[in-house]
């Protein structure tokens, strides 16, 4: 297991290299640079040139790339131009916000997605199945920002139950966190719920047709054991793959959700970094997020090994 883990960590290195190269290339390809945002509208061309020189932006791209990688090798992600703060520090500060929100949304996704998917499979082609799948289709089709706006109008503006936006850290006030995080988490989760519900339903249907399910019933096991143990333990293997994708989608979806609900997380940080061409912050922030998602994927692979004994023995 340890060796497996190390191997996977090693394969992460080229991934991170690629991602850093792509982000570097993309952000430098976008017209404009940080001097415009930093100097403001009133800055003269001479002042802008001076700013560019100070930031090292007048050097060739190759030199800038070299300096960026040299910094990375020393574990230095650079300083944010706009915030005047270390990139690592700025990102890590906002990480708990995005992570807690994503985790909340993941819990909603798993509970609702698995439950509706299993109900759909067990009651295949009944009214309950159709209702559940309609709900899933609705979740997949509705844009999350639109749903977020509708929820704000209904629950915050009309009913006044929840605040329209903002964020209270869980460590400060769990109830405050719940009040501010619930609507964002739901709007973030709904698409994934639909996705997971559909996959769970089809996987369960497939699994319930297997010979070993007939064996389990022939043994005289009660229905809840046949479904909850024998079928689910097998269905969870493909479902885990989808959960890995769901986590990635939740983190990337937080960019939009955090903007709509004005939540100071990574999504919002990166959005403003991109808009202001804060090169180091975009590069560093994305690199940290990529590293995180690579770790999530390694975690998913470890889950396979836990769920499927065949993987455990093959992965030596």
């Amino acid at each position: 297991m340890g060796r497996f883990f190390l191997q996977r960590l090693l394969t992460a290195v080229p991934i991170l290299l690629m991602v850093s190269l792509i982000t570097f290339g993309l952000i430098h390809m976008v017209p404009g640079d940080p001097s415009a945002a930093l100097g403001g509208l009133s800055a003269t061309p001479a002042e802008l040139a001076q700013l560019r020189h100070d930031l090292g932006l007048d050097r060739s791209l190759w030199v800038q790339l070299w300096l960026y990688y040299a910094g990375l090798l020393h574990g230095d992600l650079g300083r944010s131009i706009l915030l005047g703060q270390g990139v690592a520090q700025a990102t890590v500060q906002r990480l708990p916000v995005t992570l807690s929100l994503s985790l909340y949304a993941l819990v909603i996704t798993l509970l609702l997605g698995l439950a509706t998917g299993i109900v759909g499979a067990l009651r295949q082609n009944t009214l309950a199945d159709q209702a559940v799948m309609m709900f899933a289709m609705f979740g997949i089709s509705v844009p999350s920002f639109w749903l977020a706006l509708l929820m704000i109008i209904l629950f915050a503006v009309k009913l006044g139950w929840l605040p329209t936006g903002g964020y209270v850290p869980f460590t400060e006030s769990p109830l405050g966190w719940l009040r501010t995080a619930t609507m964002p988490a739901i709007s973030l989760a709904l698409l994934q719920v639909g996705l997971l519900a559909r996959i769970t339903r089809s996987t369960m249907l497939e699994t319930l047709r297997q010979d070993f399910i007939r064996t389990a019933r022939a043994k005289g096991l009660p229905g809840r054991m046949v479904v909850g143990k024998h079928a689910l333990a097998n269905a969870l293997i493909p479902i885990t793959t989808v959960v890995g994708i769901v986590i990635t989608l939740l983190v990337s979806g937080s960019v939009v959700t955090e903007t709509v609900f004005s939540i100071p997380g990574i999504g919002q940080l990166l959005t403003s970094a991109i808009l202001n061409r804060d090169y180091p912050l975009v590069q560093g922030g994305l690199l940290i997020m990529t590293a995180l998602l690579v770790l999530v994927n390694i975690g998913i692979d470890l889950c396979y090994a836990l769920l499927d004994p065949r993987v455990r023995y093959d992965a030596r």
């Binding site: 064996t215 389990a216 022939a218 043994k219 005289g220």
Partner: protein, 323 residues
């Protein structure tokens, strides 16, 4: 003593083209400790008969349209699922044709044997483990203690079928239904499993209902044989009698199909034609269209399963002349 009595059972499946009767008016009985074989081609209704007895057919589309399955005096067809569950395992156990896929790949062998005990019997964990080891030993799994923590993919097909048997035997059932238990196995392993089945029958005193399409397997194991064709029982006889004096032309056709090394049978004989489509069965004897001795009267009514000798019955109006 009669352990199982299947009385005029008809099992139907709802399909897009209306209801299809996979098993029609099937009756037979099985004494405690008896070894009954059911033979027939694919689609003759053997497996559906077995699954009807177990109550394992998905409902819908399947339903028992008529008849009763009496096991130790209880009608299993009328029993609610919760009660039926207590019969499966300690009453009737079943092993299937596909040992490669019949075990759950994500649980250990031990868990899959012990689980049955946990549901049906109140035993301490230690006693459960001991019983599992005992059963694995009985079915001929070497060093069973160590196998308990193995997963199915670590075993061969023959060993998996032995494990399936151990699971089936765990609660010491009174009847074991074996649906083509050796079809998917190598010939040498087949013989081992069949020997094992007969030994276990003698040792545990359970009855066995074995389904197969292999006449050779039946000849070696069964006390009595049912021959099924197109959803019906066409002949029922003690095994020796069936092989010596088959009364139904279909049975004789089946016996002719068995490859022989004898010099007087140089070529393999096949029964011409196909089993009738269950949605469009002919009005009279279902075998009439393929039967070499059919007469016009055969197509008028389904012939009843009538005795031709003590303990021997055939559903053929020309059985006397055929025999």
């Amino acid at each position: 003593m009669t352990l199982l009595e299947v009385r005029n059972v008809t099992t139907a499946f709802a399909t897009g083209q209306g209801e299809i009767r996979a098993v029609e008016d099937v009756s037979f009985s099985l004494d405690a400790g008896e070894f009954l074989g059911i033979v027939g081609e694919s689609g003759s209704g053997k497996s559906v008969t077995a699954l009807t007895v177990m109550g394992l057919l998905p409902r819908p589309p399947a339903r028992v349209a008529a008849g009763a399955v009496l096991f130790a005096g209880q009608d299993l067809v009328a029993l609610p699922e919760a009660r039926l569950r207590t019969v499966r395992g300690p009453g009737i156990a079943m092993v299937f044709q596909e040992p490669m896929t019949s075990l759950n790949p994500v649980f250990t062998i031990g868990e899959q044997v012990i689980e049955t005990l946990r549901v049906h019997e109140r035993l301490s964990p230690r006693a459960q483990r001991a019983r599992a080891v005992e059963m694995l030993q009985k079915v001929g799994i070497p060093s069973p203690e160590r196998r308990l923590s193995d997963y199915p993919h670590q075993l061969s097909g023959g060993q998996r079928q032995r494990v399936m048997l151990a699971i089936a035997l765990a609660c010491r059932p009174r009847l074991l239904i074996a649906d083509e238990p050796t079809t998917a196995l190598d010939v040498t392993i087949q013989a081992q499993i069949l020997d094992l089945l007969m030994d276990l029958r003698d040792e545990l005193g359970m009855a066995i209902l074995m389904i197969t399409h292999n006449m050779g397997v039946i000849a070696e194991t069964a006390d009595r044989v049912l021959v099924m064709y197109a959803g019906r029982v066409v002949e029922s006889a003690p095994v020796d009698r069936l092989f010596e004096r088959p009364a139904h032309p279909y049975t004789r056709g089946l016996l002719d199909c068995v490859p022989s090394l004898a010099a007087d049978r140089p070529r393999l004989v096949a029964i011409p034609g196909l089993q009738p489509d269950p949605a469009h069965r002919p009005p009279g004897c279902p075998y009439a269209p393929r039967c070499p001795i059919a007469i016009a009267e055969c197509s008028r009514a389904v012939p009843p399963l009538d005795p031709v000798a003590p303990g021997h019955a055939a559903a053929c109006i020309r059985a006397d002349r055929a025999a």
